[in-house]
Symmetry: D2
Subunit: 380 residues, 4 copies
């Protein structure tokens, strides 16, 4: 009677996101009552020791220091890549070569070329892919998109979005991979990509981009002493035009935003209503709809509940709240669905490439101080 | 290298709370990196069919319609009881007879006698027990208690607490077990117990009680047609005196509170500060501390993060938020810790009995319109 | 073309409330476009010097240290009493003897006897009276009452109200008139009266009362050194039954509520909706109404605007906000309207006496630990 | 003993802002205890009838339909101009010619040339001027500037500001003067000027500007039937660089922002803290300062009180709240102070011209799709 074994999972990396993938694959069968329960087959990490420790803690059957062995392992059906950004492309390409499905953290790749190659390879191989834009898996964000698409708040006339955190606000925050462009460092790639992905999720494809990137703290202390010049952006202000939208959207990001842990937020205005959201309270959606009675006008704070998308997989009672890891569990579910259906998932490589291309366009726009059309940026 | 098998779990019931227990036992090893992973051994439900369906969906090895077999099964080490309230006592007593540890949903029992018997039996047998006052497992509530205990906000001088929801606000909400006193129906037992448990968690033992219980909707429609008289309370207003506190606390509850999904909230005042909390935004704690600069006076909204108790088991980044099921996972962890240590858990049977005694005192106080001392209520 | 002179105003006292009355009489003609502008005729204060200084600063024609001269002055039509509580009765009685209309700050009197005498005298003389329950003049509170009365949120089934501030939270806050019962000291008289007045405004007449009054800080330092015993309450928890309401309301107050400047708040539940209000954001009313679409359920935050009562007298644009002094201006307007109409104003002496009687009932209930019926308390 | 008569006030216009000026001049002496009380001398409006009606309602001595008589009247010392934008320049120039001080609503002029002429004339004549950027008179905004200037939140590294309302959100909102460029129509001039003024108030002089202006609703219905093409912007997204700031600020505005009555808001990030403000709750300032204890990290909501600037002129108790008209009263006070001191006021013509020049730069930047340096825009 026990659930049949489902796809074998290979996880590369055991940090924040590695654990999140492990939690998601561990919980998804229970939450969604899946007939086939994913098997936590193998975990690869930097050393045998760390891999064994992580595998034990996270419940994986086997551990390895050799990620190439993992992606080649016949018991592994889907590979989770949660390593530093510059490793995404080689790992994903290798996994795809072995016919594996891939769940990769964002940004898709440290280079545009890498992302294009990944997208082409995945599509040629016909594997399912997923990229970790987990905040888009929030049922309340899906509700927001439905409201936008259905016309419930009229024609959309404005958008302001942001992703701001403060983990680099201290000028003495140390130099790290985040400060190196070749590792997809910089706030735009790191968190701006979430803000872009959110806008695109809600509004459709970007058409052209203007941007201004700031590097405020131009050197950072090295852990080993001394300091190094910083060659990445601390924040970006972007103006985006979308293909079928009549307005200029404002999308910005910063990792210098003191006091902010997770301000991935937006306000959408329509001719008949509006939506306000922040990831800081992601079980809520503030909703305004033009009504007949001006004396009762105002924004309604909707609490997430089982009437909202996948919330009910976790809890049958509204207002009880899902957590960050539940978003990753929904992400895992969507990947498994895609694998079952033999298609790509939403927010797969193709979508992630589109986001990455917007960040490239923003860099170019900022450097050349002009609007950049998306056609100027290479595509898969 | 795989995690060694941990205690065998037997789950009775597969509704809201049954699933929550299954999620918790499924996730606890990953979240806390346990060496011994609980084994989802057996699930009992009303019928073979429903038990098998639930066992499959939730990942249990075996299913049964016979809960007595479950509590007697040698592979079961800990029994989760998530059945209707009147079944808590017989099931728990049977499980304890077989030397099992018990995780029981609240209220501990439909009768005070049952709860006393359960508490005595568990203590005599030396098993570990846990009762599902899951909201007390919230790291931010634990932080609140530390702040109260440490004197960080001075001497405590006031408390107002509530648990309000609206699932019975409609006068036409149907008659159900919730409307029967013999099944521990009524808002006081159902959600008031959470409000009492919260106050007791933060302030210590109750000394005496005044209360006024209302039954607003005196009949409710029967599902089969017609209507039945309601013999339970819809809401309660309680005044509580605590053993070592100089003030009268106000604790109330209602299941008629239209618009409220989960308003388990409190405000604590001290001579040097205050705390404001609501489960509606349970990853936040509003905090005021008297400072030197009156021009910067105000409540600070603290976002939960890894500096706060067990939050870090789920996420290393502040502001990302844990969800309802994570609270249950923490609860499971505390039970497993107690089992390992050979002691009882906090919010075990003894604590739950204390909460139940306060609800009894409140009923008596309301009926006789007088303050009732806790010594008047039978104890284990 | 200039506005004709309106009633002559005599103001006794020049503190917080004295200034507020002066502002209100100064602004009311402009705000409401009155044909007859009140004349700031005379101001009485403790000494000639302070009276002259205040009269000059506040724009009064004449100053005096002799309030008896003021209440007798033929150019004075309406007397504002903003002096310490124990002076309310003698001043009001004197003013009424001279046929003056009276605007008195709350509590109406330091004694129940005084309040009864004042009410009888005013009614016998046929003068118009107003008592400074200014928070009830807020357009959003009036909207709340309309919603309650109209049935818009169904039958009312619950109420929790509070008035909490923190100006006595420090145990070393000095002994003052606020600590003397004979001057209507104590939190219940001082701010609890606002919480009672609010509940009564919204729900109607109180029928019976249970209460528990706390004195937490039993001595306070004297300004001149040493300390004095405190014989008044720091906070009160009250349970109120209303004449035509099926539920027990919870009304409380405290002046020990650290961090709170002005938490005069309530939550009203009805079978079809709810209202949440706090004076801390008094230009807002949170509103819930049961709707067909559960997926859009939530509380709506309504911003005050010209569609809400007297707001439009101050500003034709919603969301711009009125201030505390504007509430007093509305109060002045209501008094002037009553004077013009030859009747008493709402929240006049009779209403204020009703509030005072509830505070008396609460004291008795707390002392005797029993429910007190309002008939037990003397009335005018 | 009565207050001596102060400057004679001449008010042109009696709409929203006309009334607000009248309220302010009516209240300022009481609020600030001025020795010299402004005299409401003369009101000019479109017709004799409307002028007389408004003068009577607002308490002015005389009325006229001839504004030129008003600005020439010897009893008038200061002229308030609250007429349509295109009339600001001729009226102000005439008033200045007669040596009058001028309080003019924003935008300063419908044309840049007009604004330059006004500024030059005022400075040549040595009169005091004030322009109605009333939101900058808010004590909490002044506190914000002090915090920025003092370094209390470290070096400033980011700014996002907005002014959004919804009065033109309906595509069928009728064509009016707001839709005509020659009357300073368009959202940028109308409300964007507030957002720019706020940013400049907090951060200093703008250096260069990028912008994108949208016209979403390209025709609007005419009141008389039919429709007219709209030649003004509905919203603007601006990127601003400031003279001595290392970052790109984002400043935007919209009058299509459904649900928003008064979202004049900003978030300022510094290396050691942050400030968040919205005019929607303008008695509050959200404040974050980096502290030693990460477990108590968060934004503090500060309530306005007498420790904050001019708040105390209106109320000695914190948390009681001032209103929109009180901001205008503060504005009047600052103008009277400047008149007394024989200097110009802050947010006088020179400041307003600077704001207007930024709006001009934004138009040019949007049209030519390039950064525009402020030197490119004509100045006084």
């Amino acid at each position: 009677m026990r659930q049949r074994s489902g796809p074998g999972v290979g996880l590369i990396g055991s940090g924040f996101m590695g654990r999140a993938h492990a939690f998601a694959f561990g919980a998804v069968a229970q939450a969604f009552g899946l007939e086939r329960r994913p098997v936590l087959e193998m975990l690869a990490d930097g050393s045998e020791t760390s891999a064994q420790r992580a595998a034990s803690a996270l419940g994986f059957r086997r551990a390895t220091a050799d990620w190439e062995a993992l992606v080649a392992d016949p018991a592994v059906d889907v590979v989770s890549i949660t390593t530093p950004n510059r490793l995404h492309a080689p790992m994903a390409l290798a996994a795809i070569r072995h016919g594996k499905h891939v769940w990769c953290e964002k940004p898709l790749s440290a280079t545009l070329d890498g992302a294009i190659a990944m997208t082409r390879a995945a599509e040629a191989a016909g594997v399912s892919t997923m990229v970790g834009f987990n905040y888009l898996k929030n049922p309340m964000v899906e509700v927001a998109r439905e409201i936008v698409r259905s016309g419930e708040i009229g024609e959309i006339t404005g958008y302001r979005g942001i992703h701001a955190e403060d983990f680099m606000a201290d000028p003495d925050a140390p130099f790290s991979w985040r400060c190196r462009p070749e590792e997809a460092g910089g706030a735009l790639a790191d968190i701006g990509s979430h803000a872009i992905a959110m806008a695109r999720f809600l509004l459709g494809e970007v058409d052209r981009v203007f941007a201004s990137l700031d590097t405020i703290h131009t050197t950072r202390p090295l852990p080993e002493g001394g300091s190094a010049p910083v060659r990445v952006d601390d924040q970006a202000a972007m103006l985006l035009r979308f293909r079928d939208r009549p307005f200029t959207a404002i999308v910005s990001n910063s990792w210098l935003a003191s006091g902010r842990d997770m301000q991935l937020a937006f306000e959408i205005s329509g001719t008949k209503g509006a939506l306000v959201f922040t990831q800081e309270r992601f079980n809520e959606l503030r909703y305004y709809r033009l009504g007949a009675d001006g004396a009762r006008k105002g924004f309604t704070t909707i609490n997430a509940g089982p009437v909202h998308g996948e919330y009910g997989a976790f809890c049958p009672a509204g207002g009880h709240q899902i957590g960050f890891n539940d978003l990753k569990t929904i992400e895992a579910k969507k990947l498994l669905d895609a694998m079952d259906a033999g298609r790509d998932a939403e927010t797969g490589f193709r979508d992630a490439l589109s986001v990455l291309r917007v960040t490239e366009a923003a860099r170019l726009a900022s450097a050349e101080e002009r609007w950049v059309r998306m056609e100027e940026i290479a595509d898969a």
